[in-house]
């Protein structure tokens, strides 16, 4: 249903001014008149604009709600136009709701996890892609397979394991499990990337007497920069947004990351939508910032390992 519906505008595009059509100035048998083309462009912008507006509406709503007063929401309802402006919701979420601490916790987990898992994964990918290790392929797929496992099967044993090790309710446990669970996927993606680097570059370095560590550090890692940037942007959002692992290995409220804190906020400030909305804005801000700053890498990251 949606597919046939959506195919119409595309047909228009490829019929009207497809890349090759406009690049090659030879006469086209069915080139549409100038007027109908303008009409199509207008139609496209109308459709795309409406879809975008629909998509941005919830975000706009939460931004507006976060700056309203509680009295305004109580009097007019959460779905009404704003009658007030205050940043008090942010203060309540940040200070009273404990989101300041939660954001710090999230960063304390996310940054080391991204660095550690990409560091480890790049080493494994380097070894697996540049050397003829025995069982090379089997190891690679084993590691990828671990990442594809549904986390539910691991929750109970991981909770117990961290208890036995005495790191239950510690951020280390969360970092540990996030690294262990994520590393397989990163190895797989980086392996594909590093395999494409020509052998000759490495051979030249070997002749010059470079050690494996130097080859890894000075040659392969700089060449793998695009993939590393893409994976960093992507994994930052994954780890920052995680809820399941956090509530599995952590117990104390003051150690919880921002996602769990947001759920706590929801319980603590029932129907105080200005505070909850402000909390959502705070929780979303870092990943949105990463997205806006590294948009290109981020999108590339989603395609890595998927579309090849």
């Amino acid at each position: 249903m949606t597919v046939t519906h959506a195919s119409a505008p595309v047909g228009k595009d490829s019929g009207g001014d497809s890349g090759t059509g406009s690049a090659a100035p030879r006469p086209h048998p069915r080139r549409p008149a100038l007027g109908s083309r303008a009409l199509r462009t207008a139609g496209f912008h109308l459709t795309a604009g409406m879809v975008s507006a629909l998509w941005l509406l919830p975000i706009a709503l939460v931004l507006v709600t976060s700056t309203r007063t509680f009295d305004d929401i109580a009097a007019h309802g959460v779905g009404s136009l704003p009658h007030s402006f205050t940043l008090d919701g942010f203060r309540q979420a940040w200070v009273d709701g404990g989101q300041q601490q939660a954001l710090v916790n999230s960063m304390l987990v996310t940054v080391p996890t991204v660095l550690l898992s990409l560091g480890l994964a790049s080493m494994a990918a380097f070894a697996l892609s540049r050397y003829d290790l025995p069982l090379r392929r089997a190891l690679l797929l084993l590691m990828l397979g671990g990442n594809l496992l549904p986390p539910q099967i691991l929750l109970i044993p991981v909770a117990k394991l961290s208890e036995v090790m005495g790191i239950h309710d510690q951020l280390y446990a969360l970092i540990g499990v996030q690294v262990g669970f994520g590393v397989g996927f990163y190895v797989f993606v980086l392996h594909g990337f590093m395999r494409a680097i020509p052998d000759e570059i490495q051979q030249a370095a070997v002749i010059d007497g470079a050690s494996p560590w130097q080859i890894y550090r000075r040659i392969i890692m700089p060449l793998a920069r695009p993939a590393l940037a893409a994976l960093s942007a992507l994994s930052f959002t994954w780890i920052f947004n995680d809820l399941l692992w956090a509530i599995t290995v952590l117990r104390t409220d003051t150690r919880m990351p921002i996602t769990a804190s947001l759920i706590g906020l929801q319980g603590q400030y029932v129907s105080m939508w200005n505070v909850i909305a402000a909390g959502s804005v705070i929780a979303a801000a870092p990943t949105v910032a990463v997205f806006l700053r590294f948009q290109r890498h981020f999108v590339a990251g989603l395609n890595l390992g998927a579309v090849k």
Partner: protein, 299 residues
């Protein structure tokens, strides 16, 4: 020349120990936090365990209990329904959005970013945004009243009949942009000459879509399908933040039921058995994904 030859030979035969460590350290980290716990998970599914006393072996007892557990049945049906609805719609809408926004033209970056922005939100934040919209005095009900459909006003999340569908919408809102990115990359990879040739042959737009676009997207479809199935079975955050599986388990998924059984009812054995069911459902996808990856790694 001879030097290069010997360098290559030595690379083939002798792997420096440091390179071995490069693989072993990450592998051990994964083995410790993933493979070893997974094995324990399978074992625990055969036990009855409260987390305090020693687990007692009950064989397949947990699984036969599921057969008589109405909540399990609801969660299983909902999970399958989630897979079909969430999966089907996010694939269809994602492809639709990609087709709409595939051509480079003025303003396209803004439209793409608009659809893509929710992807970076956490599902918890997404859920809370939508919870505000679903409130009895929220935006959705207000819009319904404004367009004269006041009779449809609803406590969307509190009603057993609507809670499940009300939870799918935010999940979709967030997923469509992701699927769109995958399809955009796929569409970019199609050789425009194919369309030119089809046009010369007099193929209409629908025919071009059916005979060129869809077949050319085959490999992307496979990826989207795997991503969707794995994501569906993992889906937890959005339901947990919105309804916790309620009211009366009407929006319960296997993942939420597993979590509450294990960590709230402290029935760790039964929870593990539920996790095994999730694993079994996911296994086909995992296996086929690995087969694909196997071919790719071979290249």
């Amino acid at each position: 020349m001879a030097l290069i030859g010997s360098a290559r030979r030595s690379r083939a035969t002798r792997v420096p120990p440091v390179v071995l460590a490069f693989v072993l350290v990450p592998l051990l980290a994964e083995a410790f936090w993933v493979f070893w716990p997974a094995l324990q998970g399978f074992y625990l599914s055969l036990t009855s365990w409260d987390g305090l006393t020693a687990p007692g072996f009950v064989g397949l007892g947990n699984f036969s209990e599921m057969a008589h557990d109405p909540v399990f049945r609801t969660a299983l049906v909902n999970t399958v329904l989630w897979l079909l609805l969430f999966g089907g719609l996010s694939a269809a809408l994602g492809l639709g959005a990609a087709l709409l926004l595939q051509q480079e033209r003025r303003g396209i970056g803004f439209y793409r970013a608009a659809l893509f922005l929710p992807v970076v939100f956490s599902l918890v934040a997404t859920a809370l945004v939508w919870q505000a919209m679903y409130q009895p005095d929220g935006l959705i009900n207000n819009v319904l009243s404004a367009v004269g459909l006041g009779g449809w006003r609803h406590a969307w999340l509190a009603d057993q009949d609507t809670a499940f569908y009300a939870v799918i919408v935010p999940a979709l809102w967030r997923q469509v942009g992701y699927v769109m990115v995958l399809y955009l990359a796929g569409l970019k990879g199609i050789d425009p000459v194919l369309y030119e040739a089809a046009k010369v042959d007099g193929a209409g737009r629908l025919q071009q879509f059916r005979h060129i676009t869809l077949p050319q997207l085959r490999s992307v479809n496979a990826v989207v399908l795997s991503v969707i199935v794995i994501d569906s079975l993992r889906s937890f955050d959005v339901v947990w933040a919105l309804t916790r599986g309620g009211p009366y388990h009407s929006s319960e998924l296997l993942s939420t039921y597993m979590y509450s059984t294990a960590f709230q009812s402290l029935r760790l054995g039964y929870g593990s058995a539920l996790a095994v069911v999730i694993f079994v459902l996911a296994f086909g996808v995992i296996a086929s994904y690995l087969v694909r990856a196997f071919r790719e790694a071979d290249r």
